[in-house]
Symmetry: C2
Subunit: 553 residues, 2 copies
C-alpha cells in the first residue's frame, strides 16, 4: 500500500469527534433506544474488543441477519474498521440460499435479530454453517434454538474497554459483502472494499446525489441487510446527520410516528413503503412537516406517488442502483433549468431513474453493439463503471465472464437516455421482448395495464413465436367476478391508444398472483417456468396477424 | 494498477455529456467569451491533439502562467487527462523563484497570458528554462519577447480534431503541481495525483464542505495559478455548475458586473477581494441578489466582513486549506444546532477556520508532544491527513523529514479546537511567541491592535529576551502625524482589557509598511530579518518588569 488509504475510519472518527452530540435513535424489540455518536463510538470500540477476543482477525467474515437497529449499526463500523468483513444476510431468502451464502462466505460469527433467529435456525445446516464459531443474538434473551454456541449481544461486548486502536488498513481490504437476490440462480456475492465504500460515502453526500448534511435526520427504512441500507448509515455518520433506525418490520404507523417524534428530514425505502405510508396518512392525523424528501429506489417510483407526496410538501428523490454498485448509481434530481418548470414536467422527469452521480460513467449499448442515441426513445443495455462499482463477483468466474466487460458492469437493465441525460429503465435485459427484430418493453406494458382500475397486478412475458421470434403475453390479476373477456378487450383498446399495434400482447391470461422474488419484485423467471413448454397455448389465436413493427412486413 | 482508477476523466465526461448546455463564461483580453460545456469538451479535445502533436507524453509537465480564463480552464482537463501534469506557475513570485520552479519541474511547454508574458520574459533564463520546447501565448498576438519558439493558442490548437480518446490512466499518475509560495526559502513543489484531485473534487461538492450543485454559478476570483483556484474549476464541472472566469486582474467593478450579469451564486477569493467589493458596493448601485455565498480563504476572514456581507444577504463561507491539501481542509459551516442561534454567535463561529471536511482527519499536538484538549483555549500544531493531502514534497527530502510525520502533514499552523470541533488558527508555528514557557499568539495581538482606528497595519514578532526567552514587539503602521507615544499608550491599555499583562508587547515600533509575501500575506520572516541583530533595541525599557504568565514568577 502506498499513499493515503481510503477507508471507513475517518467517517467513524468524524461522527465521534466532530458531531459527538448528534443522536442515534432506534426502535427495537426492547423499546426505543437513544444515544449519541459519542456513546456510539464507545460501543463500537467495545464491540471491536469483543470481536478480537472472539478471535476475529483481518480478512474474517462476520455475518449479520438483523433489522435496522443501533446494534446492527454498531457492527457497521466495528467489523470493517477491524479489518474484517461485514456480510449482511437477507432473511427473506429461501433457506437453501442462506445455506449457500453462509457456506460461500465462510462466516465466522453471525449476529442475528431475535425475530429472525427462527428463520436462521430453519436455514441452519451443520455443513453449510461449519465455519460459524459463534452466534450472537441482538437481544437480551438467548432463544432455545439449534444455533450454538450462542450468546446475547450485551454479554458478548460485556465490560470490554470502549477504546480500541483500529489498525491502519489497505484500502483494497474488503469491508463489506452482500449477495444479490438474483432473479436467476443462486445469489452472487459482491464484495465492497474500504475504497469502494469510502467513495460511495463521499459521493452520496454530494447535492447531485442525495445531498446529506449535518442538519438532516436520516431514516433508512430500506433494510440494513440489503446493500448496507443503500449506504445511508455510513453517509449519515460522515455528514454528522442524526440517524433513526426503524427496527423490526416497521409498519406505516411506526414510520409515521418516528417521522413525527424524531423530526426525520430524509427517509429512504422501496415504493411499497411509501405507498403504505401514504394510505396511513390519508386515514390518520400525521404531521409530516419535518420530512423534506423521501428517497425511493429498489423499484421504479410511480409518477402518481411522486405527485401525491408533492401535495404533502415532500419531495420524492427517485434513485436507482444495484448491489454491484454499493448501490447508488443515478438520482432523478431536477436540472437547474427544470427548477421553475411546470410541476407536470417535473414529475415526468422525477419518474425517470435519473442522472448519473458525479464520479461514475455509463454507456448504453444497443442490440447491434453500438452506443445508442440519447433521444429518449432508443433502447439499449446500460453499462456503468466507477469507484464504487464492483468489477467482479466473489467466487463466480462464469458470472464474471458474462456480467462484466473490462471495467464495465453490464447492469442487465434496458434503458433510454433523453437529451438531458436522464436515464429511464424500460426493462430488464432478460425480460425485454424481441419481436420482429425490435424490442418491446415488458415493464412499460405492465405499467400501462396496471393503470386500469380493475387490474391489481400484471406481468408481461415474451413467449416464443415462429414468425416474430417472440410475442408478448400479459398475466393479469383481477378481482374475482371480473368479466375477463371484457377486461381483455378494454386493455387491448387502452394499449392501442398509446402503443403501436405490434406492442399489444397476443394474449391476456388471468392468474391469482404474480410470483415474487425475495425482495418483492415480480419474478418473471418463475412465471416463465410456470408455463414452460406450454407457451404456445398462451397466444390468442384471434390476435391480429400483422403483429409486426411499423414499417416492416 | 488494479481495480477502477480514480481520475479526473469522469468529471470532464459528465460536464460534456450530462450538462452540455451549461455555460462557461470568461472575461478576457479579447472581451467577454461564452460557450457551453459541449463546446468546452470539443476545445479540450483539440488541445489534447495539439499537445500530442507537440510531443507531450505521459509524465511530461506543462506549465501555465495565466489568469482565470476559458483557455486556462481548457488546460485544466486536457493536460491531466492526457497523462501529463499541469504545473500552474504563480506570476507574483520573484524571478529567481520562477527560474527555480521551471527548472525544478522541467516544464516542456509553458502557456502564458498576454499580460504576464513580460513577467515570464523577465524571469527567463536559458539554463533554468532549458526543458521548455514551446511557449504558447493565451492571446491572438505573439509578443516580441525572448520566449522562443512561441505561438498563439488558436494557432496551436489550429484545426485539430475535437475528439480525442484519452488513455486509461493509473490513479497515482500525477495530474497537477503547484509550488507553495513559502514564507521561508525557495518554493516547494506539491504534486497532485489524479486520485488526490478526484477525491478533492468529490469532497468539495458535499454540503459539509462547499455544497456545489448544478444550479450554482461559480466564480473563482482566487487565481487559477494558485492551487487550481482551490479546485473550483474541477468541482464546478463535476457538479455541472455554470462557471464564470473573471480574467486578468479583475477589479471590484469587474467582479460586481460579472455577479450581476452572469447571476453568480458562489464566488471565492481572499479577504481583500471581498473588502474591495464591499467598498465598491457601498459607493455604487450593484445588484448582488443572485449571490448566495462567498467562500473566503487564503487568510482569515475578519468578523466585520462576515457581518457586512450578512447585511447584504450574502453568506460568508470561511474556509481554510493549504497548497499541500489540494487545498480545502476546513469549512466554517454552522452545525445543525447553530442554525437558529443569535447572529452574533453565528458570526463568532464563522470567524473560525471551521470544521474538518468529511474524509479528512486531524490532530493537534501541543508543545510537549501530547494532543491538546478541545476546549477552545489550549494551543497546538495542527496535523492533517486524508485522500487529498500530500505525503511528500517534490525533490525535497529535507523538507519531507521536517514537515511530515508518517501519513500526517504538519501544517505549521498553531490552532485551538473548541468543544464543537471548530478549528481556529491562532498563529503560525514560526510566529508564535514563546514567553516564559507559554505561547502567545502573534496573530491575535495583531488583530487586536488593528482594531484601533488609527492603525492601518500591524505585525507582532517575538524578539529574544534573556529572562523570558522571547517577548512580543509590535510593528505598527499609522497615518503621518499620529502622536505615536499616545497611540502606544492607548494600544497598551486596549490590550490589557482583553489579555493578560504578559501578552502585552514590550515595544511598539512605527514603520511605513509591513513587508508582504507573493500571495499578499505579512512576511514576518522579512520583518525579523530587517531587525536581525538589533532586536534588543525594540524592547521598551519602560515595559513592565513582571512580563510573566499568570501564576508564574
Amino acid at each position: 500500500m502506498t499513499g493515503y488509504q481510503q477507508t471507513l475510519k475517518p467517517f467513524l472518527w468524524r461522527a465521534q469527534n466532530i458531531t459527538p452530540e448528534r443522536e442515534v435513535v432506534a426502535r427495537t424489540h426492547e423499546g426505543m433506544k437513544r444515544y449519541t455518536y459519542a456513546d456510539y463510538g464507545d460501543r463500537v470500540g467495545q464491540l471491536a474488543n469483543a470481536l478480537e477476543a472472539a478471535g476475529v482477525e483481518t480478512g474474517d467474515r462476520v455475518g449479520t441477519m438483523c433489522w435496522n437497529t443501533d446494534r446492527h449499526f454498531e457492527t457497521y463500523f466495528s467489523v470493517p474498521n477491524l479489518g474484517a468483513q461485514l456480510h449482511t444476510i437477507n432473511p427473506l431468502l429461501p433457506d437453501g440460499h442462506i445455506q449457500h451464502i453462509v457456506d460461500d462466505a465462510d462466516d465466522k460469527l453471525i449476529f442475528v435479530d431475535p425475530s429472525l433467529a427462527e428463520k436462521l435456525a430453519s436455514a441452519y445446516d451443520p455443513e453449510a454453517f461449519e465455519s460459524v464459531e459463534q452466534f450472537v443474538i441482538m437481544g437480551s434473551e438467548v432463544p432455545d434454538l439449534p444455533l450454538e454456541p450462542i450468546t446475547d449481544y450485551e454479554s458478548f461486548i460485556g465490560d470490554q474497554s470502549t477504546s480500541y486502536e483500529f489498525p491502519e488498513l489497505d484500502e483494497e481490504q474488503p469491508a463489506g459483502m452482500c449477495y444479490t437476490s438474483g432473479t436467476t440462480g443462486m445469489p452472487k456475492g459482491v464484495e465492497y472494499t474500504h475504497k469502494m465504500l469510502h467513495a460511495h460515502t463521499m459521493a452520496t453526500m454530494v447535492p447531485q446525489a442525495l445531498g446529506i448534511d449535518n442538519s438532516d435526520v436520516v431514516m433508512p427504512v430500506v433494510p440494513m441487510f440489503h446493500v448496507n441500507a443503500w449506504g445511508m448509515p455510513f453517509t449519515a455518520a460522515a455528514a454528522g446527520a442524526k440517524q433513526v433506525f426503524p427496527g423490526p418490520s416497521p409498519d406505516p404507523s411506526d414510520i409515521a410516528r418516528l417521522i413525527e417524534e424524531e423530526g426525520v428530514t430524509l427517509a429512504a425505502g422501496v415504493p411499497t413503503v411509501w405507498l403504505g405510508l401514504l394510505e396511513y396518512v390519508g386515514e390518520n392525523d400525521v404531521d409530516l412537516s419535518s420530512l423534506d424528501r423521501v428517497v425511493i429506489g429498489g423499484a421504479a417510483a410511480p409518477k402518481a406517488l411522486i405527485e401525491q407526496y408533492d401535495e404533502l410538501g415532500v419531495e420524492v428523490v427517485h434513485a436507482w442502483g444495484m448491489t454491484e454498485m454499493s448501490p447508488v448509481g443515478t438520482v432523478a434530481n431536477l436540472k437547474h433549468d427544470l427548477k421553475d418548470a411546470p410541476k407536470e414536467q417535473q414529475f415526468d422527469v422525477k419518474s425517470k431513474q435519473g442522472l448519473i452521480v458525479p464520479g461514475l460513467e455509463f454507456k448504453v449499448v444497443g442490440d447491434g453493439g453500438d452506443e445508442i442515441d440519447w433521444n429518449g426513445e432508443d433502447f439499449g443495455e446500460l453499462l456503468v463503471r466507477g469507484p464504487w462499482v464492483t468489477m467482479e463477483y466473489f467466487n463466480r468466474p462464469a458470472a464474471n465472464e458474462e456480467d462484466f466487460d473490462g471495467s464495465w458492469l453490464r447492469t442487465g437493465d434496458i434503458v433510454t437516455v433523453d437529451t438531458d441525460g436522464y436515464i429511464e429503465i424500460v426493462d430488464r435485459a432478460d425480460d425485454v421482448i424481441k419481436s420482429g427484430g425490435e424490442w418491446i418493453s415488458s415493464q412499460e406494458l405492465e405499467n400501462a395495464i396496471m393503470a386500469h382500475d380493475d387490474v391489481s397486478e400484471a406481468a408481461v412475458i415474451g413467449v416464443p413465436h415462429e414468425r416474430w421470434q417472440e410475442r408478448p403475453v400479459a398475466m393479469v390479476v383481477a378481482p374475482e367476478g371480473t368479466d375477463r373477456e371484457q377486461l381483455s378487450e378494454e386493455l387491448r383498446e387502452m394499449l392501442l391508444e398509446e402503443y403501436p399495434k405490434w406492442w399489444v400482447p397476443d394474449g391476456f391470461e388471468f392468474i391469482d398472483e404474480i410470483p415474487k422474488t425475495a425482495t418483492g419484485k415480480f419474478s418473471k423467471k418463475d412465471l416463465r417456468e410456470l408455463y414452460e413448454g406450454e407457451e404456445s397455448e398462451l397466444l390468442d389465436e384471434d390476435a391480429p396477424a400483422e403483429a409486426a413493427p411499423e414499417g416492416e412486413d
